[in-house]
């Protein structure tokens, strides 16, 4: 029975990784990366690795998206005066 849950979560992780790569806009990609982090944590729990799941949750669901979103906001704010000028 525990194999079925591994297969389901593996396929979800593969689909989410594809979605993260196909999504070209960085802000929306951060959203998909956050969901990928949560799904990876579920996969690690299913593969009996709770420590790694905790680490992925802590890093993937709050830290990485926050860094990417701050970067997008800085570059979007930097671009604004030029856009008005254009």
């Amino acid at each position: 029975m525990s194999d079925a849950v591994i297969v389901v979560v593996l396929l979800l992780v593969a689909a989410c990784a594809t979605a993260a790569v196909v999504q070209r806009d960085p802000a929306r990609q951060a959203l998909v990366l956050s969901v990928l982090g949560v799904l990876l944590a579920a996969l690690f729990t299913v593969l009996q690795a709770p420590d790694v799941g905790l680490s992925q949750l802590a890093v993937g669901s709050a830290l990485t998206p926050l860094l990417i979103m701050l970067c997008v906001r800085k570059i979007r704010r930097r671009g604004r005066p030029k856009e008005d000028a254009r």
Binding site: L10, V13, A17, F44, L47, A49, P50, D51, S55, Q56
Partner: protein, 115 residues
Amino acid sequence: MHILPYLVAAYVFVTGCYGLATSRNLIHAVGCLAVCQSATYVLLLAVGYRDGATAPVFSDIAPGSRPVVDPVVQALTLTDIVVGATVTALLLALVLQIAKRHGTVDPDELRELRG
């Protein structure tokens, strides 16, 4: 079933590399690199798995009462995740510097800026 996790890890890695190569925005490229790294987590943990086993953490079960999964790969993956996060942060800092100095984050436009 017995090689599906390895194939998923390989697929996620190749997808991440494709995204990295064809990216038109450096922040998107850093995101694709994070996807590539998550492929290594999946592969490492799939190598260490044992059927019907549980985690080698004995805070709530007696040691030796149940088969356990390989802890060495888990320690490797844990270090991989934390280093991956800091490398992502450093790359994003570099992207901010490029945006500040060259005014663009599109790698193709960067290539045309000579000197």
